[in-house]
């Protein structure tokens, strides 16, 4: 860790990335609903309006389709916009500019034009907010050729991946989770990038590989501590990017442990856990000592009632049980 680093919460790590990139590159601007309101974006936009003004920090009416399209259009003509969706459920209004336009643009024009845009969607679960205020839609975007999808789990990555997303010459969907906003960690003061498409080993172990992203890394690490007491040595891999997937890191770990539990904060069917599982089966099946287990949301919309929410969201206990299952216990 850099000497110049200090502890920062996840949300302020994002904030620092945006400050530094706006300072370094005049083409960077922030646009979206609520960028001047902590109610919408927490303190991720703190101080930006004061420093860069309404020309480059643009709070907008509720018009996700046009505003996301505008960010995409500005990127096409040479800007590096960040368009924020304080609740990614509302980002569904913007599927046309994201999928039809941004994702396809470079390919359908034979590489003559590109779209360096960051599409930032915040997952906002729990609190009895129900089905339209709680969705984690990273699998949907990962399905689309031409999009990269990143999901940082630590303050260090929150900053480094935001910087990489802004510097990337392609559309990057940056997905964070409000449950992570107060998480503190070491963050270097200077600008740095975390490579897109590279995962990280958060805990080394020999018995089972746990693969997760975003908030589920936190639950996976908790689970690995509990399992340690039972004598199970778990390796925890943080994907950091769900597209492209870091196959090398994943395969090396599974080759070592022979057992895989994939933990995802999204739904089960056609989800990231299914994708990770399929890649392992296709490529290194012979190393598997047991079937792959998936820990995901059930294929059910998010409920409101806190009793149902507790049942709905997997936590460290769900993960512990899955690991025991894969060990045949």
């Amino acid at each position: 860790m850099s000497l110049k680093s200090r502890k920062l919460p996840y949300s302020l790590a994002i904030n620092e990335a945006i400050h530094q990139m706006m300072e370094m590159d005049k083409a960077v601007f922030l646009i979206g609903q609520g960028v001047k309101s902590p109610w919408y974006v927490g303190n991720t936009a703190r101080g930006l309006m004061e420093k860069y003004g309404p020309q480059r920090v643009i709070d907008t009416p509720v018009s996700e389709n046009a505003i996301t399209g505008a960010a995409v259009g500005a990127a096409i003509v040479g800007m590096r916009p960040i368009v924020v969706h304080p609740r990614m459920d509302f980002m569904l209004y913007a599927l046309d500019p994201i999928i039809n336009e941004a994702a396809n643009w470079h390919y359908m024009f034979g590489g003559k034009s590109s779209v360096p845009v960051v599409i930032w969607g915040i997952i906002n679960r729990g609190g009895e907010q129900a089905a339209q205020h709680s969705q984690a839609l990273h699998a949907l975007f990962s399905h689309i050729p031409g999009l990269k999808v990143v999901m940082p789990s630590t303050p260090y990555d929150a900053k480094g991946l935001m910087i990489s997303a802004i510097q990337d010459n392609n559309p990057v969907v940056y997905i964070d989770d409000r449950w992570l906003y107060t998480l503190e960690g070491e963050v270097p003061r200077e600008a740095y990038s975390v490579p897109i498409g590279k995962g990280a080993i958060r805990r080394e172990g020999r018995d089972v590989t746990l693969v997760a992203a975003s908030y589920m890394v936190i639950e996976s690490l908790k689970a690995s501590e509990e399992l340690k007491n039972d004598g199970v040595d778990v390796e925890v891999i943080d994907l950091r990017s769900v597209k492209p997937l870091d196959e090398t890191l994943l395969f090396e770990s599974v080759k070592k442990t022979g057992r895989l539990v994939v933990v995802d904060g999204g739904w089960k069917t056609c989800g990231i856990a299914a994708e990770v599982s399929a890649r392992v089966s296709e490529n290194i099946f012979e190393y598997l000592k047991a079937p792959v287990y998936r820990v995901t949301l059930p294929d059910v919309p998010a409920p409101a009632s806190c009793v149902l929410e507790k049942e709905y969201y997997p936590d460290s206990k769900t993960i512990v049980n899955a690991v025991k299952g894969v060990l045949g216990g």
Partner: protein, 327 residues
């Protein structure tokens, strides 16, 4: 007439002829199955692309739709690259990855075209926003059809453009049909320009088959945008001489069964090209002979583009996965 130079009028005329001859050159190849990708011909609407683009500079941006060969040519795009793209050859303006509906020439401000109805409207909005942030004098034109007025994103874009006073011209080419649907079955109000008013945008409604009227209105709109008095909405009334897609003219009683023969005949009389020719002859700008010379010149340019295309290669199979991402 007095206010236009002969050179300007000739250029305008050539721009229209270039579009017409190019578009009509695809009819036979489509019928023979040589052109396979969907082609939406611009024949009949040439005065709009030519008139609007002649009010722009090379630095200004335009965005198009599914029917954008005309916009590309009028903005200054190359004939060979266009024809090759429609045949999906590697030498095409999108290297054969886009086809007729994805036409681009960033070097002359043709930023891109796409067939999702109204899909490029917010992109044009963003280009205008970029110009505002960079404090440029550049203007962006968003070309779309009457069908796009059924899409919500148009109204979101009008609102935001007006809110931020962006330098953008919303150019709605009203050809009275949204694919097979006549406008009366799509909208309770057939005067589209009225949609500008609730957003405090200046709206114009002009004869889109009169190239000089199109030019004059566009010029006024461009000047407003450059002076920070945008956005501007222009409805351009026109008619496509061909059908929605391909060479079919969508006559009632044919398999498409859409438009009455009478209606088509009525609009043929208002063909923008014929009208402008009459004007040019009447005002001594061109003669029957010089018109023939221009047409021959352009026919040979178009023939050259087809020959060039025939001799050029398709994208290599090994290149299927190239261009998904910019490296």
């Amino acid at each position: 007439m007095g206010k236009y130079s002969k050179e300007f009028l000739k250029r305008l005329y050539k721009s229209m002829v270039r579009i017409r001859v190019c578009e009509e050159s695809f009819v036979e190849p489509i019928l023979r199955g040589e052109v396979q990708c969907p082609v939406h011909l611009y024949s009949g609407q040439e005065a709009i692309a030519a008139g609007v683009c002649s009010a722009l500079t090379e630095q200004d941006y335009i965005f198009g739709s599914h029917r954008s060969h005309g916009h590309y040519l009028a903005k200054g795009g190359g004939m060979r690259e266009l024809v090759a793209e429609i045949y999906c050859k590697e030498a095409g303006c999108s290297r054969g990855r886009g086809g007729s509906m994805h036409i681009i020439a960033p070097e002359i401000g043709m930023v891109g075209s796409a067939p999702i109805v109204a899909g490029t409207i917010p992109l044009a909005l963003g280009a205008a926003l970029a110009s505002r942030i960079r404090e440029e004098k550049r203007v962006t034109v968003s070309f779309f059809g009457d069908g796009a007025t059924g899409e919500g994103v148009l109204y979101e874009s009008l609102n935001f453009a007006a809110l931020k006073k962006l330098p953008i011209i919303f150019a709605c080419e009203n050809n009275f049909y949204s694919t097979h649907m006549p406008i009366r079955e799509c909208r309770p109000e057939n005067n589209i320009s009225k949609i500008a008013k609730p957003f405090c945008i200046q709206g114009y409604r002009v004869d889109g088959n009169d190239v000089l009227k199109v030019y004059e209105t566009s010029k006024k709109g461009v000047e407003m945008c450059r002076r920070g008095r945008g956005p501007v909405f222009i409805e351009l009334m026109t008619y496509r001489l061909r059908g929605h897609v391909g060479p079919d003219d969508n006559i009632q009683g044919s398999h498409t069964d859409i438009r009455s023969r009478k209606e088509i005949e009525r609009w043929k009389k208002k063909d923008p090209l014929g009208r402008f020719e009459k004007y040019l002859i009447k005002n001594g700008v061109l003669t029957g002979k010089s018109i023939d010379t221009i047409k021959k010149e352009i026919e040979s340019e178009v023939k050259d583009a087809h020959d060039f295309t025939r001799n050029s290669r398709y994208p290599g199979k090994e290149e299927l996965t190239r261009y998904v991402f910019k490296e």
